[in-house]
Structures are given as structure tokens and as C-alpha cells.
Subunit: 334 residues, 2 copies
């Protein structure tokens, strides 16, 4: 039998309300009563029911994280950091993954509200008006991770435009003049949307007076498979290509793998730079040069910000983490 608060009250010869107040450290009882109640709890091996307690203190000690993809190295490193911060703060993390197209996002926000989570971290997902209206109405504290928005919501993200510009400029500085990009955004998704990484890529080429047009960009998904397919497509569109910027490292891994299968040498025949600097970059053949967006730091910051907001109704804070190039062996001088 599970021991209930009533069992504790009976044995301690106090009211249920007193036991509840002791549990939540609310005062209104003597130190002697407190010690007595705590002793009885120990004797009965009473395990406070967090569900019941959350009705009293209005906190569930649970936060939600909404992610588009659980398989990518990037989002799992987010989860890893967030879970660690939450654990230190005495909270648990409910994981909701919306699959890559985000169709389940709204449904998950409702579910998390129904579970009365203390806050939600929305990662790598565009904050649609529908979502914003909902969190505004329900007043769920929210932090955006690796994405920002035009709405007044706290966020921790990187400067994607500047990072893509830096990656492309790096290739140009190594002497490359024919540079292509493999983007993770399928063309049909992006009507009317802002694409900072593609824009940063194009701007770097234009600023250096190099040719750039739509044929220099291939749009696909974010997986290795998309990178492999993207390489073939990009060479069809720009046959004299010597360097490629890939929107993430999974795409870069696919490019390196497809080049190996096609007998194209990396970096001798084509240089590749990825983005995100995930763990496996170091273990590819050749190891992949990549732009680090400090994702672990980003996730840690977002989680810390989440708990600050929960504690203190902190004002909207938008934080941008720095980026830098991590040189390995996939880019050569031209």
C-alpha cells in the first residue's frame, strides 16, 4: 500500500492541512510539530506525491522541450545540456519531438499546457503566430533555442547570417572562386521565409565580386542522404565547382561520403565546410572543417534563462552566442 498524506496526519495526530504545510515549507506550525511530522514521514517511508504537491505550490517541477528531430546530433546535444541544467534545478524534462515538418508543434504546446509544465523551450522551430498567440494567452514561460522571432519572446540563438558569411568568406580566402551551397531547406517550405544562411552565403560571394545565382544553391533536407544527393545535383548545376558550404554537418558528412563513392577527392578536388561543429566532424575521413555555433553553450544558456524566467518573471531577453571556424582537413588552398 502506498502511504498517503492522510496516513501521516493520523499517525502524527495533526490535520492533513498541517502535513501539507510542512511538506511545502509554508509555516504556520511550531518547530516541534514540524520535527514530529517529518519523523512520522520517515517512519512510514512516506514518498510525497509530486502530482498532489504541484496542486498546492502551483509548480510541477517539469519543463517541456519541443524539438523537430531527435536523431540529429545537434538536437540531442541540446537535450543533453537542458536535461543537465533542469536536473540541477530539481526539474524534469518532457521531450516532445514534432518530426521534421513541425506539424505536431501546436498539439504539443497544448499538451504541455494541459500538463501544467512550468515552461517550454522551443528549439530550432519557427515561432508561428498561432504558437505565439497560444503562449501569450496561456502565459506559459517560453524560451526559443537556436531560432529567434519577431515576437517579444526570450531567445538564445546564433547569428546564422554572419556564420554563413564567415564560412563562405573562409573558402574564398583559401582561393576558391566557384563555390556552391547545399541548403537544408526544401524549396517548397521557404516561400516568403527568411533564409539567413543562404543569404549570408550569397552576400559573401557578392561582396567579393564572385558569381552567384540560384544555380549555386541546392535545396534539400538536413540529412546525410540529402548531402549525398545534393553533391551530384550541385555538380550538374555548376560543373567547375571547387568548394561547397553545407548548411549543417550531416549534409557535409553526406557530401564527403558521396565524393568517396564517386572517386572525387576531398579536399584535393573539392573542399567542404560544414556548420554546427557536431562531435562526429572530427572522425570523418577527412575530418570536416566546420563553423561552431557553440550549441552546447546555447542550450545551457537557454535552460538557465528558462529557470530565471520561471523564478522571477524576468523581462524578455535575446541572447546571441558567438561563432568561429574550427579548421580540420576538408578544405584545401586553391
Amino acid at each position: 500500500m502506498t502511504v498517503t498524506i492522510l496516513d501521516v496526519a493520523k499517525r502524527a495526530n495533526v490535520s492533513k492541512a498541517t502535513v501539507s504545510r510542512v511538506l511545502n515549507d509554508q509555516g504556520g506550525y511550531s518547530e516541534k510539530t514540524k520535527r514530529h511530522v517529518l519523523k512520522v514521514m520517515e517512519e512510514l517511508e512516506y514518498n510525497p506525491n509530486a502530482v498532489a504537491r504541484s496542486l498546492t505550490n502551483k509548480r510541477t517541477q517539469t519543463i517541456g522541450i519541443v524539438l523537430p528531430d531527435l536523431i540529429s546530433s545537434l538536437t540531442t546535444s541540446f537535450l543533453n545540456e537542458i536535461e543537465a541544467v533542469a536536473h540541477k534545478a530539481g526539474s524534469s524534462v518532457i521531450v516532445c519531438h514534432t518530426e521534421s515538418k513541425g506539424t505536431k508543434t501546436m498539439k504539443y504546446l497544448q499538451l504541455l499546457h494541459e500538463k501544467r509544465v512550468d515552461g517550454v523551450i522551443l528549439a530550432s522551430t519557427i515561432l508561428k503566430k498561432e504558437y505565439y498567440d497560444y503562449i501569450k494567452k496561456t502565459k506559459i514561460p517560453m524560451v526559443l533555442l537556436s531560432t529567434d522571432s519577431k515576437y517579444p519572446v526570450s531567445s538564445v540563438t546564433a547569428d546564422d547570417y554572419a556564420a554563413a558569411y564567415m564560412a563562405t568568406k573562409y573558402l574564398i580566402q583559401q582561393g576558391h572562386k566557384k563555390v556552391g551551397m547545399i541548403s537544408g531547406n526544401k524549396e517548397e517550405w521557404i516561400v516568403g521565409n527568411h533564409l539567413p544562411r543562404v543569404e549570408g552565403f550569397k552576400a559573401a560571394l557578392l561582396d567579393n565580386k564572385l558569381s552567384v545565382s540560384e544555380k549555386h544553391v541546392v535545396y534539400g533536407g538536413f540529412s546525410c542522404e540529402d548531402g549525398a544527393a545534393g553533391l551530384t545535383q550541385l555538380f550538374k548545376q555548376v560543373p567547375d565547382l571547387t568548394a561547397i558550404f553545407t548548411e549543417n554537418d550531416e549534409i557535409g558528412m553526406g557530401v564527403i561520403s558521396a565524393a568517396y563513392q564517386l572517386g572525387i577527392k576531398v579536399p584535393e578536388e573539392v573542399s567542404v565546410i560544414g556548420m554546427d561543429n557536431v562531435k562526429f566532424c572530427e572522425y570523418l575521413n577527412p575530418p570536416l572543417t566546420s563553423v561552431s555555433l557553440s550549441h552546447s553553450e546555447m542550450a545551457k544558456k537557454a535552460a538557465n534563462l528558462m529557470f530565471e524566467i520561471i523564478e522571477s518573471n524576468k523581462a524578455v531577453t535575446n541572447c546571441i552566442v558567438p561563432h568561429r571556424i574550427v579548421e580540420r582537413q576538408s578544405v584545401s588552398k586553391k
Copy 2:
């Protein structure tokens, strides 16, 4: 303002208890009352508080998953499948990662009990007596995933011994006579423990009258880094080695990467076979031959079993999923 059950009761002119019974579909009211209460809920945009409701129906519609490592491709694919099954069953998943040494496991079991989760999936973790005693006492439904135990607890796992035996036999069939293994278990952890993969490896060599001793096995961690270090160590111990079985694919990735850096050709100079058949195997240079343990299927089965147990107090069920070799390009004939 959040609408409460009391607001609904007032507006519908019924008692709070009636609203609660309607919410939980418990009967004891007329069809007319039910329709009226539901209509009022809709008018007020009442969002049932899952926390409060779980106190009534004794279900929190939440399960916990306890995992040792969130970064590995393997455990994230577990999480992916489990979250999908849970979502279909109307439940959420709280993720608890215990870090590789499992020191937080007991603490997490207590936390999940305090949160009154409907069940716990314990993945890739040895079920210690301490854990078993706790789940027995608290009666939390539990399913073990990718691990089994001597205690009467349901599980879905692979036959690790047979899978390691198959991997090693495959190398022998390709003509290899000097075969080593890089194991993910640090020697200091394994005192008195059963190591089915190492035992399967040794048995295959012995059954084929090939030499095997402790110097044929290097013990380290489960990461790429451990694989890279393991390669150097194994060549020191067995200089004429021609093939390596790695306990997982991350270790295999590290071996392929270190070989590339050292100028050792895979598979021409050393063949490598991994285990788990995670997604990236296909994208390594060369693509890694691996033993598939049907992990996605395993996780899906474990999650389905979890909900069967929650629903019906199903008897202890132990399920073993099949394994098979997926041939790629990292093993050559000798």
C-alpha cells in the same frame, strides 16, 4: 485568467463532482447533463488540468525513460521510437539520462515514482538489486530495453552473445585468423559481471581453433575517441592483426578514423565490423559493415509492451529480437 473546474460547475449549475465525473467519463449523470457540461466547457474554453485529473483517474499519462547516454545514435533512436508510441497512446515521455556510469539511476527512479509516472523503461542499464527492490516495492510497471536481468521483469533485448559470435564468425569466414576486439566496457567496471559480447567473440575464435587470449581484447569506453585509442592499443598487443570486431559502431567509426590518420587502409590492411548498425555506418569512408540488432523494432516493442502492462497487468514477458549482418565495405577477404 485560467478557467477552472469550479467555473464550469457554476456556469453549468451542477456540482464540481459532476463536472469531474463527466471529465473522466465515470457515469452517474444523465446524457442531458453530460451534453450540457461539455457545452459549457467548450464555451468557456476550459482546458482540463491534467495534473488535477491525474489525481482522480490515478494515471498521469506520462512514462519515464531512463537512459545512460543521450548523445549516442543508438539511445536517441530508442527515444525517437518510444516517444512516437507514447504519443499515439496519448502519453508523454520524461527523459532521464544517467550519464554513462549510471550513478543517477536510483535517484531518477525515485523522482519518477514521485511524479507518479505510469511506467518506466530502463534502457541499456544493468538492473541492480537495489533498483529491482525499489520497483517491486513501489509497484511501478517496468520494461527493460536492450538489457535483461535475472529478476522477473519484462524485457525486450537482443541476444548479444549470439550477435557477437556471428560478427566474429563472419570475419573468420572471410579468411581472417588474427582477430581482435575493442570492447566498450572499461575493465574496472566489469568485475564479476557477465560480458556477453566479449564471451561471444572469444567463443567464435575458440570454436574455430584460432588463438584467443586477454591480449586480443582492449577495454575502453563506447565513444569514437575510445575506438581511436583502442586501435593503437590493439596493434601493440597483437601486431599481426588483420580484423577487428568493435562492440558498437561509434567505436568502429573511431577505428576507421584513426586508421585513416595513421595511413592504415581499411579494409585492405585491416577489416572492421561494428555492431548496432546505426544510421551513420552507411556514410563512413569506407561504409561500416555492422551487425543490426533491430534497435528501432526493439524500442517500439518495449514501448508497446509498456502500455500493455499499464493497461492490463500483463505477466512478465521477455522478448528477444533477431540480429543479422549488414554487409558494406569495411571487411575484405583475407
